[in-house]
Symmetry: C2
Subunit: 391 residues, 2 copies
């Protein structure tokens, strides 16, 4: 018989892709919680706490969290079907694969989408954002905080500032799937209107939760719609009363919440918002781990996908393979060393690069030695791959 304190997950290869990430034993144990009624007095405050702690992670006092069974992708549907009405204009700042997909999602629900697409590895300039916002009235501006396909980090604070300065009615929507709890986000201070994310990256929980926080301004925009939300499952008309009820401590029903994942998320959020290190220390540790991994890449002569270190993510790195070396030369070698990294994803150069995640316990729990292991294995694998080509 195991109890929370002595539960240890099975031995396994070190997972350092940019999500899902390594999950702590106590979080996995919470995911194995006995079945509970979703409307029970025991469970209601667990979801209530998750709502409150999600606010804490984003440094917002008035943002409205939504925690829904689904992949991170469902956050796009929430934005597209609750904040935009058919025919309204939307501006997508595109820094990779996920910008393309968010744009497609918005179009599916009837938005008219303009895109400013950065060159591969680059970001969209504030000047380009400013001139686009001056040319047309946009309902929302969206950008991918960290595009998992490129490892490019957009400057959320600067973008929100530009939007507020040039077009104050426009909502700033941040796709933070690969940034929440690994990159700095000051929701209230920066004047962000939506952050959407998922459970399996910086938040250190198994995948299966779509997590979104909307500003009260965004909620008002939703409430003032002329047409009803054009999704059913993603409709805030359904979910807002549920979130409000659970936060107040009352049961409510729309769809059965993923009870076990909520217990797991509760354990992970408790670590992040109430544990040690503090949230700001956590972010600092992510910056330091990132610098270590990127310095190791540099030493190996690997070029990063982000064109400038200034806008390289802190929770992941994307490196081009050395000249003449490909994924099949490197990834199986890392696998043999029990280290799992991710292949490329951006369609322009899928085969030419790989991605390493450095988020959550792999970064924060230094005793694990994950970052050192990643660096050492990466070094060996790349050197072996180069060597094999010379033979």
């Amino acid at each position: 018989m195991s109890s929370g304190a002595n539960f240890k997950q099975e031995p396994h290869r070190l997972l350092v892709i940019p999500g899902p990430i390594e999950v702590a034993d106590d979080v996995l144990y919470a995911n194995a919680h006995p079945s509970m009624s979703h409307v029970s007095a025991e469970f209601i405050p667990v979801l209530g706490d998750c709502i409150r702690m999600t606010r804490d992670v984003l440094l917002t006092s008035t943002g409205q969290p939504f925690i829904i069974s689904g992949s991170g992708t469902l956050g796009w549907d929430q934005v597209a079907s609750n904040l935009v009405e058919p025919g309204e204009d939307v501006l997508v700042l595109n820094t990779g694969y996920f910008g393309d997909s968010f744009a497609e999602c918005l179009q599916t629900y009837g938005a008219k989408v303009d895109q400013i697409t950065a060159e591969v590895g680059g970001v969209v300039s504030q000047a380009d954002i400013e001139s686009a916002l001056k040319s047309k009235k946009y309902k929302i501006v969206t950008f991918t905080h960290v595009d998992t396909s490129t490892g490019v980090l957009s400057d959320a604070k600067a973008i929100a500032e530009t939007v507020k300065k040039v077009s104050p009615d426009t909502l700033t929507v941040v796709d933070g799937v690969c940034s929440v709890a690994s990159e700095e986000i000051r929701f209230d201070d920066w004047g962000i209107d939506v952050v959407l994310t998922a459970s399996q990256k910086g938040l250190g929980t198994p995948p299966g939760l779509s997590i979104l926080v909307a500003s009260q301004k965004a909620i008002k925009v939703y409430e003032n719609r002329k047409t009803p939300p054009n999704s059913y499952y993603a409709s805030w008309k359904k979910w807002l009363p549920i979130m409000q009820a659970y936060e107040k401590g009352s049961p409510a029903y729309f769809a059965t919440p993923p009870v076990n994942l909520i217990y797991a998320f509760h354990a992970a959020l408790t670590r992040i918002t109430k544990g040690s290190p503090s949230l700001s220390e956590r972010l600092k540790l992510h910056r330091e781990a990132s610098q270590k991994v990127k310095a190791a890449g540099k030493e190996l002569g690997l070029k990063q996908v982000p064109l400038d270190e200034k806008f390289a993510a802190n929770g992941m790195s994307a490196f081009y393979f050395p000249e003449g070396v490909t994924g099949p030369d490197v990834l199986p070698r890392l696998f043999k060393k029990d280290v799992i990294v991710a292949a490329g994803l951006h369609k322009a150069m899928k085969e030419k690069y790989f991605r390493v995640g450095h988020m959550g316990i792999s970064v924060v729990d230094e005793q694990r030695g994950d970052i050192d292991k990643v660096i050492a294995s990466m070094k060996e694998a790349i050197e072996e791959a180069i060597q094999s080509k010379k033979l």
Copy 2:
């Protein structure tokens, strides 16, 4: 350090609501699986097997399963956005709360919905279905196999037969959230086109999976749409290639699958399709447990919500409280006996009845003694409640 064989979940009250249900230790342990890459060679066949075993549960050789992160509700969005185009006619056979909601979901995506609403506790007659089908050409007919709000079991076989006889192009869509693996469903034999369900009821897995099986005829109807699916997250244009890829053993990416829940579902499906008892024996055990619970209710003088035992579900029971007794008299007494049942849900008489689930391991693993415990506790609690009113 725990391993699969000796993992035991924490002691807890017996959960006998009509879902989530009690989950077996090995299924919970699988939910605590170490983090795995969703595109890894280890994980791909796990989802592939889930797709194949889902077919086995529904006795279909050619149905196309979709296994997606989400609540059961998401299945309605899948049907509404992939099988119906805006302006098309749909017939909803309504036997309770879930019929209302499915109709609303269909309307959200533009369907024109006609409903035949049964009296509370009743079913829609074949004659009414037949005459509706003769009056108008419907794209789909939907019904709730077991409406969790009433415990009414619709005759899926007879409905599918009537549809095929009167309007062979119309698709038969079964909301099987509260019926899959607890009620008989012969997908191919009965000519059903869609069964949608969720993980946390008869399938004995924690909540968080929307599971749907579509016939090849339904897939053709989807493929012949004139307009694209009007949901993004629920779009089969996105999910069909993913399901096909994983079944073939190749990775593919649209949205990160809920990896741990898929491991848990795999463990649960293995029990159901490859374990002992067999699937047909499992259904027989559900019928027997149901008869025992219903007989105990009868002995206590409790009237069932279903108007006729012929169409009372086998995986749950819905009983009216005795005259003068209410939920607060009975449910807390059951709670004190460590038994959790569900309050009413149907808006016409929410306060007047309660619901008991008898699905999955509580039924199949007779050594647990769950059904005897439920019956004994129900008897005590009802008698105590009646007694307290007399004082």
